[in-house]
Symmetry: C2
Subunit: 458 residues, 2 copies
Amino acid sequence: MSDKKIPYKIYLEENEMPKQWYNVRADMKNKPAPLLNPGTLEPMTLDELSQVFCRELAKQELDDTTAYIDIPEEILKFYRMYRPAPLVRAYCLEEKLQTPAKIYYKFEGNNTSGSHKLNSAIAQAYYAKQQGLKGVTTETGAGQWGTALSMACAYFDLDCQVYMVKVSYEQKPFRREVMRTYGASVTPSPSETTEVGRKILAEHPGTTGSLGCAISEAVEVAGKSEGYRYVLGSVLNQVLLHQSIIGLETKAALDKYGITPDIIIGCAGGGSNLGGLISPFMGEKLRGEKDYQIIAVEPASCPSLTRGKYAYDFCDTGKVCPLAKMYTLGSGFMPSPNHAGGLRYHGMSSTLSQLYDDGLMEARSVEQTSVFEAAEQFARIEGILPAPESSHAIRVAIDEALKCKETGEEKTIVFGLTGTGYFDMVAYEKYNNGEMSDYIPTDADLEPGFASLPKVGK
Amino acid sequence: MSDKKIPYKIYLEENEMPKQWYNVRADMKNKPAPLLNPGTLEPMTLDELSQVFCRELAKQELDDTTAYIDIPEEILKFYRMYRPAPLVRAYCLEEKLQTPAKIYYKFEGNNTSGSHKLNSAIAQAYYAKQQGLKGVTTETGAGQWGTALSMACAYFDLDCQVYMVKVSYEQKPFRREVMRTYGASVTPSPSETTEVGRKILAEHPGTTGSLGCAISEAVEVAGKSEGYRYVLGSVLNQVLLHQSIIGLETKAALDKYGITPDIIIGCAGGGSNLGGLISPFMGEKLRGEKDYQIIAVEPASCPSLTRGKYAYDFCDTGKVCPLAKMYTLGSGFMPSPNHAGGLRYHGMSSTLSQLYDDGLMEARSVEQTSVFEAAEQFARIEGILPAPESSHAIRVAIDEALKCKETGEEKTIVFGLTGTGYFDMVAYEKYNNGEMSDYIPTDADLEPGFASLPKVGK
C-alpha cells in the first residue's frame, strides 16, 4: 500500500482486536529453563506453583506447548475500555531527523496506569476472582505495576495490597494516591508487617528498599493470608503471555497496511513489554517464516543482558521465591543511587534470556543522560512526554534512524512506547536542571552481585 | 443502527476528521456583546485588539458572521498527532448504575497536556508563528493551559512565558516541570517582574495569587516586549471557535452511528470546553433543526452562571484587559481556599453567557465532595482517573442517568471528559483522607465581588 495512505495513528477496529494471546514458548526449540523449588532444587510442579499463584496462572506459567490461548470474555471487555492502543507513525520525528527511515511506535500509555502493565494486571486479577480469592499482594517500584493492579482489582472488587519500595513511596506520593483512589492499601517496603521485612530492617536499618525486598514481603503476606495469592508484573512467562496483546495488535495494524518492519526495539527491565511486543514477530522468526532485527535496550547502570551471567538465581532478596534461570546481575545487585526511573530489576525474563542466549535478539545498553535527551526531543516533536523506561527504546530508535540517514536506507523501525512520564517529573527536573549524571558500573562493582548467585547446576 | 454494533470507543478515521472550525456566533440572533476598550468604553477595534492578540486571532475574535473557518494544514497536522479524541460508550458505568440511559463521553485527556486545552493552544501558537512573532505570554492556574501552550510553542519553536498562579506553582511542581521540559519559562504570579505584580504584592504581601492577577502580568509583559503577544486559554470567542473541534468530532462520531443525544453536559469554568463541545449542537438548536437539553456544570463555590450577574466586567485583576460582558461574580471575587481544582475564574465566556441568558442552555452548580465521589466512582468503573474539573460533568451525567433509572427513560447522555487528574493528586489525597469539605458562599460572601463591578452601561 502506498506510503501516503498510512495515517498518523492506526487504530484497529473492535472486531480486529486479538481474541487470543500468543505463547512464544510453544515455538521455541530451546525452551526457557523451568523454575526450581528453592528447597529441593527440583522443577516447580503445578501444585507447588499454585501455592504462590492462582491455579490458572500457574498453568500458564508452566505451559510451553500451547501456542494460542483464548482471552476470557471478561478480560476482552476490559481491554475494550482502553485498547486498542494506537500504532503511531512518527511522521514529525522522521521529518525533524531528516531520515529516510519509517518510524512507528506502539503507544501503551493511554490509560490511567500510564503503561502497558494493565494488560497483565487485568488478566491476573480476573483469574484471582475466578478462583474465588479475596485479594492479591504485590510489589511495585516506580509504581506503574501497582497502579495497574489496583485498577484491575477495583474493577473486579478484589482486595489489593501493594508493597512499594520505600524510596518510591516517599518520592512518588502521587502514584501512591492513585493506588489509594482505586482502593488499594499501600505499604512502604521494607516494613514491620512481615518477618522478612523486619529481618531486612534489622540488618540494614537505613535502607530505602528494593524491588527484590518488596517481592519477598508481598510473597510472604500472600502465603500467610487465607484467600490471597501473589501476583507479579514482569519477568514471568504468564506476564509475557498476557503482554503478547501488544505485539499481536502491532502486527495486525502493520499487516493491515502491508508494512513489514526491519527493526523492532523495546526497553527491557524484567522483560514484560519487550517480550509482549516481539512475541508474534519472534514466533515468525522461530518458525523460519521471516527475519527481524530485534533489539532489547537496557540501562547501562543495570545491564543484566549485556553484562549479566546466564545462571539460576533468586528472584527476590528474601530468597522465598522459586529460582529462575536468567541473565542476571545477582539478587544482591543494587543499581547506583543516581539511576532514575524503572528497569532496575537484577534479572531478565527466562524466556527472553533463552532467546537472547540463542542469538535471536540483540541487546544494547544506554546511559541515562542520553536517554533523557531523547525523551525531551521526542516530547517536543511528537507531543508525548515519555516514561524514562520507554525512552530507552526511543534513544535506540533515533540512533537507528540516524544511521539510516547516513546510509540512505529506508528501514522500517517499530518501537514500544510503553508509557508516559507524568509521575517521573522529579527525574525530568534533575535533567532540566543539568543535575543528572551517568554511571556505568565497573567490573568490580558487579562482583558482589555475582557473588550472591546461588550454587545451582544447570 | 442497532445498539449492539456501537463499539466501546468510536474513533473517526483520519479522513473523517473536521477540516473546519464552526463559529456558533454566526447562528446566534443575539450576538455576544463586544469587548470594550477599558479607556474609552467603546467596542474594541481590530487594530486595538491586534495590539493584544495576533492579528488573525483578533479577526477571529471579532468575526460573528462566518460560520465555518478553515483549519490551516499545519494545525491539522498537529491535530492528527493526538486526535481524533475517542467518543467512548460508558458501557461499564451504565451497567454499574443499572440505568437504561446510554452514556457517552468525549475524552480529551489522551495527550500530554492532559486536557482539551491543546486544541486552542496549537492554533494560537500557529498564528503567532505565522505573524513572525518571537513568542507569547500567558497565565495558567491549575496548569493545563500552560502545559498545552508550552507543547504548542515547542512544536513551532516559539518562546513561551507562563505566569503561573503562585499557589499552583508551589503545589504543582510537576506541572511546572512539564512546561520546562517543553522549554517554557515559568514565573510564579504575582511576581516582581511586572509593574502590576509589584503593585499587587505591595497591596497584598502574602497573596498566593489568582488567575486574574496572572492575566494582568502576562498582558503587561506581552505589551512591553517586542515581538510578543498575549494568548488566553478560555473565555474568548476565538478559543470557543478552536474548541469547536471537540463538538464537531463528537457530532461526526454520533452521526456515523445514527445516534442523537438528548442531553449534553459539560463543565464550565471560562467556557472553553463547554463552548467547544456544544457548538455544533447549539448551532442546530439555533437554526431550529433540532433540540437538545444542554447543561453547564460549575462549582457551587464559584457559581458565575447560577449566581453571577450578567454585566460588563474586568477580565483581570489589574484591569489592563478589555471589558467583557458576561455572567460574572466580579473581578474581585476569590474562590474559597478549600476549592480544589480549576473552574475558578470569576466570569464566563461572553458567547455562553448570551446563550444562557437567552434560555438556550441550563446551568447547575455542584459541591466538590459530591464531585470527587463521582470522580472516584468513574475511575474505578471506567478506568480513567478524571480531572476534578471534568468530574463536575461526570457528577451531573450520573445524576441524569440515575433519574432515567427512576423514570425508565432510555435517554442518550453525552458529556465532555475534558482531561485527566494525574497532576491533581493533592486534591484526591484530601478526598481519600476524608479531609475535603464543601463551601457554598452566602449572598454576603458574594457582595465584595459584585461591588468590584465597573459602572458601565449595557
